[in-house]
Amino acid sequence: MEPLLMKRRRFLRGAALAAGGALLTTRLSFAGTGGDSRLIVVIMRGAVDGLAAVPPYGDPDYARLRGGLAIAAPGATDGALRLDDLFGLHPQFRFLQESFAAGELTVFQATATAYRERSHFDGQDVLESGVLVPHASQTGWLNRALAAQPKSLGHGAERGVALGSNVPLMMRGPAAVASWAPTKLAELDPDTLQRIADLYSHDPLLGARLGDAQAADSMAGDDASGMMAAGNNRYEEVIRATAGFLANDAGPRVAVFDTTGWDTHANEGGARGQLGNRFGALDGALRSLKTQLGATWRNTAILAVTEFGRTAAVNGTGGSDHGTGTAAFLLGGAVHGGKVISDWPGLAAATLYQQRDVKPTLDVRAVFKGTLADHMGVPAGALDVVFPDSEGVRPLRDLFRA
């Protein structure tokens, strides 16, 4: 049965895997134009408090508005990690600070999507679909970008992978993508798998999904498959698999995974506490990702983004409610970093959005467009197809090393 199964695998999805060496050669000649570039999008679901992640400690209204949530100035106990005279990083972001110092991190502050209401679900939909109105698109911008990459860049069957059982909207669309999640359950024997594949040969959706799953399992690597998170870090498994996929030259170039727990309405904490712990876990995960990517880190960019921010002022329960402007991060060996990009509106009552939120001054699509154009080789003409109605949003340039 084994030879038949192999045949099926190749037929379904896996042809490129077997031919990895040949593809690698092709890609090398495109280095610098997107062929070797890796992109990882970390979706932070729940609305990350941008004023905690990237505290504007130098703003005269910051400490007053934030009360118990305020992060002290750099140098004080549990103080912010200094970025410049105005901004710091949350003290739990130690790896991010090292990366900033090494010129591998760019921080965006007071950014937002085009969405201006305060529903998580609509906000995430706009963040992922890349269109202006919630629920107006069944495909995501990242997938459309993959489909718009020039064919000449050379690719395996799947250009992208979603880490998690299911594929988030950002990664859904015309381009074939894989998904992968850790498992504790035993693998099926090849004969049973073959028979299920036969059973699905009349079912286009299930047939395609099964093929994708088999291709993904073989790529995630033996280390990752069959193990659940054992260590302290909740992201350990997903990081290991992400690195497994992206460090493989014949594998996908783009990965996306979710993080949750950012909806801090109560007991948010300041330098220490609930949100700080989550920042610490994320920071550790990103450090581990760098280590595990090895030489691939040089070509890697990681975008960490959330649907919107939170209220400027602390609420009645030691937390913050849904807001608007927030922070975002662009990290990686390919990044021309060490800078904070922000047209900071300030926190004075008159400048807050609707008297309550950080006013967004940077459309996050400018970051996305710049990343796709200068890192992923998406042609300029395709950017406005990937992001409809975004003609007024110019791609941010100079985000990547030349």
């Binding site: 679901r45 729940g46 009360g67 209401e117 305060r118 529903s119 998580h120 679900f121 609509d122 919630p134 069944q138 979603a162 998690g164 059982s165 299911n166 594929v167 859904r172 894989a178 998904s179 992968w180 999640a181 498992t183 504790k184 359950l185 035993a186 693998e187 099926l188 004969d191 049973t192 798998l193 028979r195 299920i196 036969d198 059973l199 699905y200 009349h202 079912d203 959706l205 299930l206 999904r209 099964l210 093929g211 994708d212 799953a213 088999q214 993904a216 399992d217 979710d258 949750t260 727990g261 909806d263 309405h265 109560a266 609420n315 009645g316 329960t317 937390g319 409610d321 849904h322 609707q354």
Partner: protein
């Protein structure tokens, strides 16, 4: 006249998947079989080991007090051994609740009613993402949802929004009116500003009633949050959280924002608890709510993109019946579209597991093994990662990796139970006329009884409803 296709739809699309014998029992009158399930009080889960929310909260309160005392007198290493970790209290409660729920779902003769119950439980979702919810998610479903699924929407809404689990999950229990008695005192004494938390108010409007396009503004959310300040829980600790019966709904007058509030253009001048109740009553009867609930019901039971005429009809019935839920369910059964759509919806992991359990009448020997089954398949019970609950479209569940997990689990069941089950005979009993020739042939040609059962559980027609 026996209608075998309709029977397969009744048990699968409206139910939780057929148990052996169920198709035959409902074939004479599939619609009548569904309607009959709406008669009589909803079944209760009466397992003596399961605790009420009040008992759980009282225990938590006690343990916290003990731990506080221990910490005060004993800062050393012994402390770590002596302190009771709350997780050790929550976890057994959670395991018991998940198992009891599965037992009922796997054996009930009113599977349509159980689907409805789980629909509402997800509509008014709480999540164990918040640690304390692990201890009360099950009792919440038993206390606030189950008894009210055959009443009016208003009654269900009221029970949910005053239940301690919801007040905990969406943080309202200590949301303080900025001009309340307590806030004024705190300001005076300590210069401390207390205030509202708008989480529950927003999600009631966005998720529980009007829907995100239901026509409310930020000002409505803020005003409504003030209206429901004071909706809290008895004895949740010291200070502003003391007082009241432990774990019962408790209206805290001293943190309630006084005065008239305007919500959706209507002003509410009542004092105290009545103000919030009036807003909820109006929300329950708002046409936007009718449309939102109608859309969700139609999406859940008919198709990802529900036929507009079904939504319009259900919405109208909801309004005209004052939100009488059995009337709405009967209108749902009467939708022709529900009986004519092809099997299009990919089952959620939750419903997939339950349908397998029903088909096989799997014995539950070790309760601790039940929760991990749902977790491994990607849907740990009561753990959606947001208050919107689990998503309800096929594309949210049919990922490659998710499918593979399902197949691995199906194979585990096949290996474990295959020797005792004749999959070839079982297939027509649970799938009826939806059983395809492909699947039938694959089952007869399987290499072993175990493999045949795996293939049955893997079949496309068992994956969908």
């Amino acid at each position: 006249m026996r209608d075998s296709t309709a029977a397969a739809i009744a048990t699968n699309r409206f139910g939780l998947g057929a148990r052996p014998g169920e198709l035959a029992a409902c074939a004479a009158d599939p619609r009548g079989w569904l309607e009959a399930q709406l008669k009589g009080p909803p079944p209760r889960i009466a397992e003596p080991a399961l605790q009420s929310t009040a008992a759980m909260v009282a225990t938590i309160d006690q343990v916290r007090a003990q731990n506080r005392q221990l910490r005060a007198g004993n800062p050393g290493a012994e402390l770590i051994a002596a302190v009771t970790k709350l997780g050790e209290i929550y976890r057994p409660a959670y395991v018991g609740e998940v198992t009891a729920r599965l037992r009922l779902a796997a054996s009930t003769e009113r599977p349509f009613l159980e689907r409805i119950t789980q629909f509402w439980s997800n509509h008014f979702a709480v999540s164990v993402d918040k640690a304390i919810i692990l201890g009360v998610a099950g009792s919440y479903e038993r206390e606030a949802i189950r008894p009210n699924v055959l009443g009016s929407f208003q009654q269900l809404l009221m029970a949910v929004e005053r239940h301690p689990a919801m007040l905990l999950y969406l943080d309202n229990f200590r949301s303080v009116g900025p001009d309340s008695m307590l806030a004024a005192r705190a300001q005076e004494r300590a210069g401390k500003a207390l205030g509202i938390n708008e989480n529950l108010a927003r999600e009631i409007m966005e998720l529980h009633t009007l829907g995100v396009d239901g026509g409310y503004t930020q000002a409505d959310v803020t005003a409504f949050a003030k209206v429901i300040t004071g909706w809290s829980i008895g004895a949740m600790g010291k200070g502003i959280q003391a007082g009241g019966v432990p774990g019962e709904f408790f209206f805290r007058t001293n943190i309630h924002e006084p005065g008239t509030q305007t919500v959706l253009g209507r002003s509410y001048s009542q004092d105290g608890l009545g103000q919030g109740q009036s807003v909820l009553v109006d929300l329950a009867h708002n046409p936007a709510t009718a449309r939102h609930i109608a859309t969700q019901l139609a999406r859940h039971f008919i198709a990802d993109e529900p036929p507009p005429e079904a939504v319009t009809t259900l919405s109208r019935v909801f309004l005209h019946s004052d939100g009488d839920l059995p009337t709405v369910y009967r209108a749902l059964i009467a939708q022709e579209a529900a009986w004519s759509q092809p099997l299009g919806k990919f089952k959620t992991p939750n419903d997939y597991v339950i349908s397998a359990w029903r088909a096989l009448e799997v014995p539950i020997d070790d309760a601790r093994k039940v929760p991990p089954v749902f977790a491994n398949l990607g849907q740990r019970v009561w753990s959606p990662n947001s208050p919107a609950g689990w998503p309800d479209r096929s594309a949210d569940w049919d990922g490659a990796s998710a499918l593979m997990q399902r197949l691995r689990w199906a194979d585990e069941l096949g290996q474990r139970l295959g020797a005792e089950v004749n999959a070839v005979q079982l297939a027509p009993q649970i799938l009826g006329t939806t059983l395809s020739d492909n699947t039938r042939v694959a089952l007869t040609r399987a290499a072993s009884a175990a493999q045949a059962l795996t293939l049955l559980l893997a079949a496309p027609e068992f994956m969908r409803r």
